[in-house]
């Protein structure tokens, strides 16, 4: 995914022009700092989301599965008819929305991080192979990347889940295995660029093994790239996971997940807007802060990266 106005070639051009319009340079620096500040604020919010999900069993106001028919479809507390016991209201069987959202965050975060770990591992290894060995290895891996990137990721995930059946593990595996091409493509290009550098040549001249060159000389130079892509991908995976759960092909009710809460809430949107709105807001906020962190990381670690 492309991230917002990265300081790429364009801004280098800007710096080059700084003699002509001098204030631009100062402003660009200010903007970089400002974006880092946004990144820190975003990190704070993400920490809060992670903490509420992780500590949900201790801090949640209710049991997320506790049915309370008397208070079913009760609106958020501040609205007319809202119950003081349920801050964000309740769903169709009277389960507390806030508690369910706290627990739902666990699913999204676990799937997001788990899937990204898998796809980063596969993608980085294949990208290294393609970039380092070139030739037919490169051709095969590039064809694989093209096939996967042509295909809408959503469709692939849907089809595979349909065969394997929905479960948390399957979801992590599917989203993890399907997500590798984006890493492979970037790592391949970066590896090719690093391969040309003198220290790799020196290593080869000294007779280092391929494994040693790749993992001692090339990989350390790729860490920041991998961290940036992986961060941005966590957000993408969370959106996909919630879409699958939204369709009923992901995490199965009654286990709360932001996606399936949104999907159930859709049925009641005529009278009870809050059931669908709050879980959606949670997805939106989480992906937003992760994207902001990713952008800030990119600016901080690796300004040349264009994603």
């Amino acid at each position: 995914m492309k991230a917002v106005s990265s300081p790429t070639k364009m801004e280098l051009v800007e710096v080059g022009h700084s003699r002509v319009d001098a204030p631009d340079f100062g402003r660009a620096t200010l903007r970089r700092l400002a974006r880092l500040r946004w990144g820190l604020a975003a990190a704070g919010i993400l920490l809060l989301v992670v903490a509420t999900s992780a500590f949900a069993p201790w801090i949640a106001p209710h049991d997320p599965l506790a049915v309370d028919i008397r208070h079913r479809l009760s609106p958020p507390q501040w609205m007319e008819g809202g119950s003081p016991e349920h801050l964000l209201g309740t769903d169709q069987v009277g389960r507390d929305l806030l508690a369910r959202m706290m627990y739902g965050g666990r699913v999204s975060l676990v799937v997001g991080v788990g899937a990204v770990l898998i796809s980063a591992t596969i993608g980085v290894l294949l990208g290294l192979g393609a970039g380092y060995f070139g030739g037919s290895t490169d051709w095969t891996i590039m064809t694989g990347i093209n096939v996967m990137l042509t295909f809408p990721f959503v469709l692939l995930a849907l089809a595979v889940i349909a065969v394997l059946g929905p479960s948390l593990t399957n979801m992590i595996i599917v989203l993890g295995v399907a997500g590798w091409p984006i890493y492979a493509r970037v790592i391949r290009a970066e590896t090719m660029a690093i391969f040309e550098r003198d220290f790799v040549l020196a290593g080869r001249a000294l007779g280092m093994s391929h494994v040693r060159i790749v993992f001692r000389q090339i990989v350390p130079n790729l860490v920041s790239v991998i961290v940036v892509i992986a961060t941005l991908q966590v957000a993408q995976v969370i959106i996909l996971e919630s879409f699958l759960s939204f369709l009923g092909l992901g995490i199965q009710p009654p286990t709360p997940a932001w996606g399936n809460m949104l999907g159930e809430g859709r049925l009641y949107m005529l009278n009870s807007w809050w059931i669908a709105t709050f879980p959606g807001l949670a997805i939106f906020l989480t992906t937003l802060v992760i994207n902001l962190i990713g952008n800030a990381l990119r600016d901080w670690l690796d300004p040349h990266l264009k994603l």
Binding site: M1, V4, D24, R27, F151, L155, R266, A276
Partner: protein, 305 residues
């Protein structure tokens, strides 16, 4: 140019083969069609008989070859659910999906082009910052949630638009906006960076030095050149756009291929799923090819690369 076209065509064939292998493998390697077809309490002999009947006891490459040679003729087998050829079912649902995709593309461009150009020309202004903020937010908003929010506001509260359905232009408004809003952020940023890059080029200075009016410089000289990366990326994004259309369709109960696919997945109707997957992939690959050719035609530098 001819070599360029040939190279693109070879790549196209390879990608299509790859996708057909993927579609085949999903059902035959990950799952077992007989297990899905027969009731769970069927006996062992029953399974074996069906396996033989469907040719599933033969080596995988033989099965794949059979699948591929039939698929090439448009024969994906009958739907396990509706008893009609899968191909016909999918083809019938194709037009709504294509219309929605193009409507979304149009809305996306309508938002992205003016904002992107404006942000580039007034770089670092408050409008530029605002565009950046909207783009960051837009990228994080899940389409399906945006769709539901639109339905709650415009269909449930204000009662000005139909919540779902297909037929009149009013049905198009919300889905097209939803899809366009998903496409707009990335396109806007591309237009912005493309225009900024072009505006720093020598030929713009020349155009200005000739004494051309600023609007002429921007529209005739800058925008045309900024279009090339935008067209390329839009072509590459077409797959994602179609992916977005799939999500949008399910929210608005749009009678397109995606809704059919999701229904078929729920019904475990795999011939239809395979057929839909392959036809959608063909559509994407076709559009990518056309875009590559257009870009290669406009910009000779790309042909050489």
């Amino acid at each position: 140019m001819r070599r360029y076209i040939v190279r693109q065509l070879v790549q196209l064939v390879v990608v299509i083969l790859g996708i057909s292998i993927l579609a085949f493998a999903i059902l035959h390697v990950l799952g077992d069609p007989v297990l899905l077809l027969l009731p769970q309490n069927a006996g062992k002999e029953e399974f074996e008989r069906y396996r033989h009947l469907l040719g599933l006891d033969r080596p995988l490459y033989v099965q794949y070859w059979k699948f591929l040679s039939r698929a090439a003729l448009g024969d994906f087998g009958k739907s396990w659910y509706a008893d009609t050829p899968a191909f016909t079912l999918v083809l019938e649902r194709m037009p709504p999906t294509i219309y929605l995709t193009f409507a979304g593309l149009a809305v996306g461009l309508l938002i992205a082009l003016p904002l992107g150009i404006f942000a580039a020309l007034k770089r670092n202004s408050w409008l530029d910052s605002l565009c950046t903020v909207v783009a960051v937010a837009g990228q994080a908003a899940p389409i399906f949630w945006l769709g539901i929010m639109l339905i709650i506001v415009f269909a449930v509260r204000l009662k000005v638009l139909p919540a779902s359905g297909y037929g009149s232009w009013r049905n198009f408004l919300m889905p097209a906006f939803c899809l366009g809003a998903a496409l707009a952020p990335i396109t806007m940023r591309l237009v912005r960076s493309g225009v900024i890059e072009v505006m720093n080029m020598e030929f713009i200075k020349t155009a200005r030095a000739k004494g051309l009016a600023e609007p002429t410089v921007v529209v005739k000289h800058a925008f045309r050149n900024a279009c090339i990366p935008v067209i390329t990326v839009l072509g590459l994004q077409f797959g994602q756009l179609l992916g977005g259309a799939i999500i949008t369709e399910t929210v608005f109960a749009w009678p397109g291929v995606a809704t059919l696919t999701v229904e078929s997945i729920r019904n475990q109707d795999f011939p239809v799923v395979q057929c839909a997957v392959i036809l959608l992939a063909l559509l994407i690959v076709g559009v990518n090819l056309i875009v590559d050719l257009i870009v290669g035609f406009i910009d000779p530098r790309i042909r050489a690369a």
